[in-house]
Amino acid sequence: MVVAPALLVLTAPRPARAFGDVGAFDPRALVVSGAEGPAHPSAPSRWSWELIQRTSAPARAKPSSVRADDPHIVDGPFLFLSGTRPLPALSAAEIAGLRRYFALGGLLLVDDSAVDAGGQPSEFGKSARREIARVLPDQSPIPLGPEHVLFRTFYLLKRAEGRVAGPKTLEAIVRSGSAQVVFTNHDVTGALARGVTGAWELPVTPGGDVQRERAIRLAVNIAMYVLCSNYKDDQVHAPFLMRRRALSPRP
């Protein structure tokens, strides 16, 4: 009785474990010279973990980072930039690197980790906007409300939330119909950060654990947007989602 299942395991086609990891979600941290690294170094791996636990999407357990002037910046379609201190001016090589990345259709999440409780952008947030404006001078950010596909790529979200409640909307630079730079004034990665003991690194205000869960859901949705693009905008989903939105209680 014990041997039979073991034999079955041996005779079944062996799954390809490592094969397929290259296409997995990789919350790559963007590193800019003169600036600190990611504000919450533990957040990317937690982000991957949450994605793997909650969805079918594969994710890198050990996320990578890349410098803005590194030729390998074009090796994946997602980057995130977070910080607490003002971002120094980008060098010409960094601007060129980011432009190459955006030209391929890559997405950058700018997460303001020093945002205040009211959701006002910190110096990091302001400087990041200024530097991105140098990279993409022709576009300016616009607000993204709950009608945007980012709020329904996996979870149905009514607003954006992170470590702080902040504004209800996200902001984004939209190019060719796709959000290419998403700005959050919520410190989403702050809500994901865990310390070495496994405990949450930062308190979430004002909503506590409930708000943290919603912040994690936003992070999952952002990852799904990276992997599925505007899949949930397809007409086939529309009647179903409209029905579900109508059923759910209004805030």
């Binding site: 799954p15 390809a16 094969f19 296409g23 636990q53 909650r54």
Partner: protein, 736 residues
């Protein structure tokens, strides 16, 4: 040598006529008015007056004697005989062409003085018929085109036309007005005599005409208007009309049917058919004839419809969201000519989203609905890293395999849940993939070692990879691993292979393979790193366009886009049953195996007869080769050209015995009679009195000699003397 009298050559004819008229008037005045006033000498006045007038006329005319060698040339008369297929139909006494040929011979016998040129008309300009030579059997009977061609010809124009036909003409049509028929005669400004060959109306039920409203587009209902005819005292109050698509993968598929209520020998039925596959498709429209039908060949028509695609409808099913899924989705969505229905598995049963169902945007994967009722509506299915087992696709795999064989497209994209790992080995779907799958227990599903795919010779020559090669050359990004697949199946080729890994047969393992599967096509891409053509160092150098170029080629080839076909096929001049047809094959200049034979395979669509093969010499450096097909029976056919062992290029076509010419078997003598009447000519029945009024011959003179009877001064002097004598006679008679 003939000789005759004439007036002086420098005198215009009107002057001669005027002189004669004046002379007659003068004589009249003399006799009627002046003689009454005379006192005496009436006879002498008259005699001298007549002589004086005659002398004056001769002085004006100055007669000459003309001696010339003359010949009589008959007027050119063109006898236009109907050379269309309808002349093969039964007439009064055997086929109609017997009466036609006999009538032409009789006219030639009667018109001895005319120069007769016999020509046959049918499709386009008329052709001269040599004595005893057989007259062709054209698919049309366009008299108007023949007349126009004669009118614009540089050759001598005819002075009369004789048309011998059954009257069932394409042009002028039965609805042509009197003015239109008259205009036809004015093309040449000659009378058009007509001869009708037959009075006999066959007992015949037929599909007279099938007209479509607009072009045929895949998945879009196409209205068909079917005109049914029933003549010859057949019992046909109501007849069943059916439209069926002739398919290579099985029996004809009924598309629509209707009941025709026949009134006055005619009925019209409106049908609506929907064709799911694009390309040339053969649709049979048939009527169930009543007993006694004398002509069964026109009970059905075979339409060759060129079915276009408004948009390519693609079902994209992905087993999990990855960068590869994203890249493919973005390319599909950016393709304006593609209509995408996508389903991605975002959550499996082992995932815990930590949320209530109503907080999720997930919808159930409608596997049964998609792979049953909606399956035929898709032009292609993309299964990307999708495991068949957990989502209930397994039970639909036979239907998917049938869908591919009946003309659908399938692309299986690699990943940890694809090919062998997805449970597709030993399933019906494996039978329509271009690569074999190892279904033995313990079979290796994937090779996780990174590698760079190698181009095969077939890959280098494949038009579908040309866009990618022109962007990136032969450089490909390193792949993180590959699904383990077997050898390419019959009729398939590998375009990329694994540089190290071999199949059981010892061949390099295919990475990208394409192949024909019945009426459809399939592609196997055994990696999930296609997106690296977009996001990589190579992607950055090519502006990320390599991924789109690859998929443009793959989907385009799957949809038989002519740009990506290995060869082009064209039927020259249509196909008539039992008559050899010609098929033109255009092959590209380069090829993986330039010495490989060029084989045209011909298969009948509406029965199971074995395919015929025609082997051709491949033109050096590419170009055109022509295959002479054996005489084919009436029916639908598919011709495939195969270069070496790879996939084929196909073209469907239909062979009909009578075509449009037999669709309406009734003769139309009335039309011929109207044509003759409109051009002030004569109508005759073949076998009756065949005399028609033809223009007289022309006299042609040669070696002309002109000799005056007397010099001009002699005529003038004689006239002066005669006038003088007359004046004296008048004076004596008391006239002034």
């Amino acid at each position: 040598m003939h000789s005759r009298l004439a007036s002086s050559g420098d005198l215009p004819p009107w002057a001669a006529v005027l002189a004669c008229v004046l002379a007659l008037v003068s004589l009249g005045v003399l006799l009627a008015l002046e003689l009454r006033r005379r006192e005496r000498g009436g006879p002498s006045i008259v005699a001298t007056g007549v002589v004086a007038v005659a002398a004056l006329v001769l002085a004006v005319l100055r007669p000459v004697r003309v001696a010339a060698r003359e010949s009589v040339v008959g007027a050119k008369v063109v006898v236009l005989v109907d050379g269309s297929r309808s002349m093969d139909l039964p007439g009064d006494d055997g086929p109609r062409h017997v009466a036609r040929d006999r009538a032409a011979k009789e006219i030639a016998g009667l018109a001895k003085e005319a120069r007769l040129v016999t020509m046959s008309f049918g499709d386009g300009a008329p052709r001269v018929v040599s004595d005893g030579a057989p007259i062709g059997s054209d698919a049309r009977s366009d008299l108007a085109a023949a007349l126009r061609a004669l009118g614009t010809s540089a050759e001598e124009r005819p002075r009369a036309l004789v048309v011998i036909s059954d009257g069932r003409l394409d042009e002028p049509s039965a609805e042509a007005t009197e003015a239109a028929l008259r205009a036809l005669g004015e093309t040449l400004r000659v009378p058009i005599h007509t001869v009708a060959t037959t009075r006999r109306v066959l007992a015949d039920a037929s599909v007279r005409r099938v007209s479509t409203a607009g072009a045929a587009v895949a998945h879009v209902p196409l209205p068909l208007r079917v005109e049914i005819g029933c003549e010859g005292a057949l019992a046909c109050d109501s007849l069943t009309v059916t439209a069926r698509e002739l398919r290579e993968d099985g029996p004809p598929a009924v598309l629509a049917s209707g009941l025709a209520k026949v009134k006055d020998g005619r009925a019209v039925v409106d049908l609506s058919v929907t064709l799911d596959r694009a390309g040339t498709r053969i649709v049979e429209v048939a009527v169930t004839p009543p007993s006694g039908d004398e002509l069964p060949d026109n009970d059905r028509r075979l339409l060759t419809l060129n079915v276009a695609r408004e948009r390519v409808r693609i079902l994209h099913v992905a087993g999990r969201p990855t960068h590869d899924t994203r890249a493919l989705r973005q390319w599909l969505k950016s393709n304006a000519s593609a209509d995408i229905v996508a389903f991605f598995i975002l959550r499996t049963s082992s995932d815990n989203p930590n949320a209530r169902q109503e907080d999720l945007s997930l919808i159930p994967f409608p596997v049964d609905e998609l792979f049953t009722e909606h399956l035929p509506s898709f032009d292609a299915i993309v299964l990307q890293d999708f495991d068949a087992q957990p989502y209930g696709l397994e039970r639909h795999l036979p239907a998917v395999a049938r869908y591919v064989r009946s003309g659908g497209g399938l692309i299986m994209v690699g990943g940890p849940n694809s090919f062998v790992a997805g449970g597709y080995a030993d399933t019906p779907l494996a039978g329509v993939l271009p690569v074999a799958l190892d279904g033995t227990p313990g079979a290796t599903a994937a090779d996780v070692a990174p590698f760079v795919p190698s181009w095969t010779d077939d890959g280098r020559a494949a038009p579908l990879l040309e866009p990618l090669r022109s962007l990136a050359g032969e450089e490909l990004p390193p792949m993180p691993g590959a699904n383990v697949v077997g050898d390419v199946r019959e009729g398939a080729i590998a375009l990329w292979t694994h540089p190290q890994r071999k199949t059981k047969a010892g061949a390099p393992m295919p990475i990208l393979a394409i192949g024909d599967q019945g009426d459809g096509r399939s592609v196997a891409l055994a990696v999930d790193g296609g997106w690296l053509l977009e996001f990589s160092q190579l992607g950055a150098r090519t502006g990320g366009r390599g991924h789109g170029a690859l998929w443009d080629g793959l989907v385009g080839w799957l949809m038989r886009d002519p740009r990506f076909e290995p060869a082009q096929l064209e039927l020259v001049g249509g196909c008539v049953a039992d008559v050899p047809a010609r098929l033109r094959v255009r092959v590209p200049p380069s090829g993986a195996s330039p010495d490989a034979p060029l084989v045209v395979e011909l298969r009948r669509l509406d029965d199971d007869s074995p395919p015929a093969r025609v082997e051709l010499k491949r033109p050096t450096g590419g170009g055109v080769a022509e295959a002479k097909l054996p005489p084919l029976a009436a029916g639908g056919y598919t011709a495939r050209v195969r270069l070496g062992t790879g996939p084929t290029t196909r073209r469907d076509f239909a062979c009909e015995r009578g075509g449009d010419e037999w669709a309406d078997s009734r003769p139309d003598a009335e039309r011929l009679e109207r044509l003759a009447g409109a051009t002030r000519a004569t109508f005759r029945w073949a076998g009756g009195d065949m005399r028609v009024p033809l223009p007289p011959p022309t006299v042609v003179s040669a070696e002309r000699h002109v000799v005056p009877f007397a010099p001009s001064w002699v005529w003038t002097l004689a006239a002066a003397i005669a006038l003088g004598v007359h004046w004296v006679a008048r004076r004596r008679g008391g006239l002034s």
